[in-house]
């Protein structure tokens, strides 16, 4: 009996220890990036291993935020994450609500049409041609319209609206509202918690937009943050040779390029970390719905 207790204790200790290591391994790169972005340049060059800076400075951030192109890219990403999210919610919500009403004719046909796109994706070039033919290349809308929603989101939201009883809308209909009025004034406010959850996921998706921008945006001035960040990471000094001009970080700098890179990574991470607590509240449920039908 005694021996068993001892073994259990050891197991718990080792298990907790391993989990601690895993947790630290997850957070450490982020921590290291943050502290180095605040490290004084002189110290950065003199010390090789810095786990806690002696001199703190905001130089890297001042430098970045005084750069026109960087600020533009942030505002584009903010635009995507706000306007794009709103549009995504409306389009997904409207469609999901409509097909969740059982009286709707052709709802099966519409769902099948949606679900087929789940199974078969024609690849990059056919989509690229559509975006080009519609004239969206180099437009910020090319980063919103082609990714407004997906079969997956429609399906998930429909599942949510399915649980709203018909009696509710019937009452409102008697008061003289039409379906759009009911959707806007009753269904949406009722589903606020779910909308917030979906909205957060849309917003993270828009904030992280990279691949579509790579395909559809050639003009530096229209780059969202992720694309600019990637270019900075690859080479922060030679940028600006393209059509956009003016991404000239001084090479004889007061700020080393490495700290600049880290500050840029931190700036791109901050919004995610800000919404993370809210995300965490919602996602466990979402991820479960997303993986197995109950």
């Amino acid at each position: 009996m005694h021996q068993k207790g001892w073994k259990t204790g050891l197991f718990g200790f080792v298990n907790n220890g391993l989990l601690l290591i895993i947790g630290l391994a997850t957070i450490f790169p982020i921590y290291y990036t943050v502290i180095l972005s605040f490290t004084d340049p002189v110290e950065y060059y003199q010390r090789s291993l810095i786990l806690w800076p002696r001199d703190w400075t905001l130089d890297a951030y001042k430098h970045l935020l005084s750069n026109g192109l960087f600020v533009t890219s942030i505002s584009i990403s903010v635009f995507l994450a706000t306007v794009g999210t709103m549009l995504s919610l409306l389009v997904t919500g409207g469609m999901a609500y409509a097909v969740s009403r059982k009286r709707l004719r052709f709802r099966k046909a519409i769902m099948i049409m949606v679900l087929i796109t789940f199974l078969f994706t024609p690849g990059l070039v056919p989509l690229y041609l559509v975006v080009r033919n519609v004239g969206l290349i180099d437009s910020v809308w090319s980063l919103i319209l082609p990714s407004l929603t997906s079969a997956w989101y429609v399906l998930l939201m429909k599942g949510f609206f399915d649980s709203i009883p018909d009696s509710l809308e019937e009452a409102a209909m008697i008061d003289g509202s039409n379906d759009i009025g009911v959707f806007w004034r009753i269904i949406l406010p009722l589903s606020l918690p779910a909308l917030v959850a979906f909205g957060l996921f849309f917003a993270v998706g828009y904030w992280n937009t990279y691949f579509n921008a790579l395909m559809f945006i050639n003009d530096q001035k229209m780059w969202p943050l992720q694309v600019l960040l990637q270019n900075m990471l690859v080479d922060p000094t030679t940028m600006g040779s393209g059509s956009g001009g003016g991404f000239a970080f001084q090479v004889n700098r007061p700020v080393p390029t490495e700290t600049l890179k880290m500050a840029a990574v931190v700036i791109a991470t901050v919004p995610i970390m800000l919404v993370y607590p809210f995300l965490q509240k919602h996602f466990a449920k979402g991820a479960m719905v997303g993986s197995v039908k109950e």
Partner: protein, 326 residues
């Protein structure tokens, strides 16, 4: 209108048409649609989205059988049959892409797939719920970071000149290691990155399966003298079995999808030969070099293989799992 007439005339020519009350099928449909016109308007933006950005691209696939030129457009370009496919399959690049895709997918299957299962089992054994939640909060974070950020973090940790790892090696007087542009390390590094990003997130589904276990089962097992290992083996794992099986089968269905962003970002000249996969190749040849038809053919080939894999995977899943997939 026409349908209405034929239905009526088929009912017998002698009797006069029965008015309003018992409408024909088409009449009913029309009045239903009129009644729900606002619902259709709600669905309309979504429908337009799916048509423009999901269905028109499918029709654009015809250029895989043409020599597409923007001047003649999608339907006016000259037809070349299967020429692009023939060119692709006889190209050495095809075998390189296939090898890289399969290698990356199988590494992910062997190392990435079981990782969240193991982590979920470990988390499940934690007594203190505060400690458990803290660790969970930490390991979920990377799921929400973009691949660009992860590329940045990887660079800042492992680059030869500036990475922390190499700085540490230098202080230990062990020289430096080139990790990011070494073809031998590339696949392993991709797998490690994926695990770092998604292992925590992946545990959610397994933890949910574990949460469904009746605690009495554990109590009974303890009474019977089962140790921790036996409880995991005979209670926890069987509870996860269905989920594991279904996810595994689904994973098999997406073997061709290695993900574009991660590989594209990590790719550099010395590792191109082991890094190029179908998606990155299509992007480079199609969109960068403008060979639309050729790259569409490659994309179409990949999509068709993908559909076959997913459909057969679903068949398998339905056979083994009690739960259906959609």
């Amino acid at each position: 209108m026409k349908a209405q007439e034929t239905v009526q005339s088929a009912k017998g020519s002698g009797s006069p048409p029965i008015p309003a009350k018992s409408k024909t099928k088409w009449g009913r449909i029309r009045s239903d649609v009129a009644r729900d016109k606002y619902l259709y308007m709600l669905a309309l933006p979504g429908l337009i989205f799916f048509i423009i950005f999901k269905y028109i691209p499918i029709t654009n696939l015809v250029i895989a059988f043409q020599e597409y030129s923007p001047y003649f457009g999608v339907f006016g370009s000259p037809w070349v049959g299967f020429e692009h496919f023939a060119r692709f399959f006889s190209n050495d690049d095809f075998w390189m892409l296939l090898r890289n895709t399969l290698a990356i997918s199988f590494l992910s299957l062997i190392f990435f797939f079981p990782a969240p299962i193991i982590l979920a089992l470990m988390l499940n054994e934690v007594r203190s719920s505060f400690y458990k939640r803290t660790i969970q909060s930490l390991v979920y974070i990377p799921h929400f970071l973009s691949w660009v950020l992860i590329y940045g973090l990887t660079y800042l940790m492992f680059s030869q000149s500036e990475g922390l790892f190499n700085k540490w090696l230098v202080t230990m007087d062990w020289g430096t290691v080139d990790i990011l542009s070494n073809p031998n390390y590339f696949w392993g590094m991709l797998t490690a990155q994926s695990i770092w990003k998604e292992v925590g997130w992946g545990t959610i589904i397994f933890l949910a399966a574990i949460a469904g276990v009746d605690p009495q089962l554990y109590e009974a097992a303890v009474m019977d003298g089962a140790g921790r290992r036996r409880r995991i083996w005979h209670i926890t794992l069987p509870a996860m079995r269905n989920v594991i099986l279904i996810l595994l089968i689904l994973r098999l269905g997406t073997i061709m999808d290695t993900g574009f962003e991660q590989i594209y970002l990590m790719m550099n000249a010395p590792v191109t030969n082991v890094a190029e996969v179908f998606d990155t190749y299509v992007y480079r040849v199609g969109i960068r070099q403008g060979e639309f038809s050729y790259s569409t053919a490659i994309g179409l080939f990949k999509s068709i293989v993908g559909v076959i894999l997913v459909v057969s995977a679903n068949r398998l899943a339905r056979r083994y799992g009690q739960e259906s997939l959609y």
